[in-house]
């Protein structure tokens, strides 16, 4: 499975502006597989992205909007993208602020499907 995960991450990382991508266990906030540019703190991205996803997911559920299928935190200095995958995993990408979110989203959803297999 790991090869397939790494291959999926590789495709995300090819999107211009992506600094790193990973599979994260949503309950633990721990990295399952990662592909990062130098200087990106994978542990921090995994822990914080999973925590944010849980909070946003909780809020969405509480207001009756159901499960979160894709979430994006846009900030001055970058963008954090999160998509849920099977086996309680998340696909997470950290990218530049001007990244093509549509393209990135497409690759992340594809990666999420990879994790099912």
């Amino acid at each position: 499975m790991n090869d397939a995960l790494m291959h999926a991450l590789d495709r995300i990382s090819r999107v211009r502006g992506v600094r790193g991508s990973m599979f994260v266990a949503v309950d633990d906030g721990l990295v399952v597989a990662q592909l990062l540019m130098e200087g990106v703190n994978g542990k921090a991205v995994a822990a914080l992205a999973a925590s944010l996803a849980r909070k946003v997911g909780g809020a969405s559920g509480a207001i009756g909007a159901g499960r979160v299928q894709f979430a994006q935190l846009a900030a001055e200095g970058g963008t954090l993208l999160v998509a849920p995958a099977a086996h309680d995993l998340l696909v997470v990408a950290l990218a530049d602020p001007n990244v093509n979110v549509g393209l990135c989203r497409l690759e992340m959803v594809r990666a999420a499907e990879t994790s099912v297999r």
């Binding site: 944010l52 946003v56 509480a62 207001i63 009756g64 159901g66 499960r67 894709f70 846009a74």
Partner: protein
Amino acid sequence: MADDIRTISDALARDPASLLYADLSELLRRRGDVEQALRVAEQGLARHPEHADGLACLGRIRADRGELDRAREAWTRALAVAPGHVGALKGMGFTLFRAGDARGAVELLALVVQAAPSDEGARRALAMVRREAAAAPAAPAARAGAAGERPPVFLGLEGAAADILLCDDRGRVIAGGLTGADASDVSELAAAALAGVSGEAQRTAQYLGLGAWGTIVAETDRANLVLAPVTAGALLLVRRDRSVPIGLAVRVAERALGAASAWLERQGA
């Protein structure tokens, strides 16, 4: 129970800073000694204002005294500290039910049962509320008034009172409103659930070296949500149907953000 009360009072007397006050208060409440339960809870919360178990207990005491608004306030505070707090969610479900919103109560209690499958009380309450919801006609019209009483900050924007909500970081509604699937007002619940999100987003951006955060966009099963910080502490939520493109939802959020900032500035916030 009398023995338990004595044991816990003794332990609390030895260590007044202990969190056991919440257990003691709950035991007193169950014994029917509501006034003393209230005193114990208030004393404990003076020391531990952010203690979710204590706040949830205070809510139950307020409800026992028939003070439903103050009960809801305590539960809202508990949910702001601990968004998934089972006791507080149960309490909120109870207030919705009492206010005639059985469907809203069903949604909440279903969350509780999901979070705490072994909670028999919650299961029974859910079953009972479900029967009521099936029997009751949809959407008590009286409840739709809640949003109407709030300041008309988003006037002129689509969904001004049903799909746009301004709340603070303590889980309190400031303006706008959000309705549930049955058109009942779920603003307070939403505000409580959103309380932790703003701080979490800020912390995430800070630790990842991303600077100030601008928006969170979430595509969910039933809606597109846009969240944005207004001023320090205030958070805006805009909900749009899944069929509305994300880009458009973000535009609406930007306009709402402008309206909210201007209004907050006029209020001197």
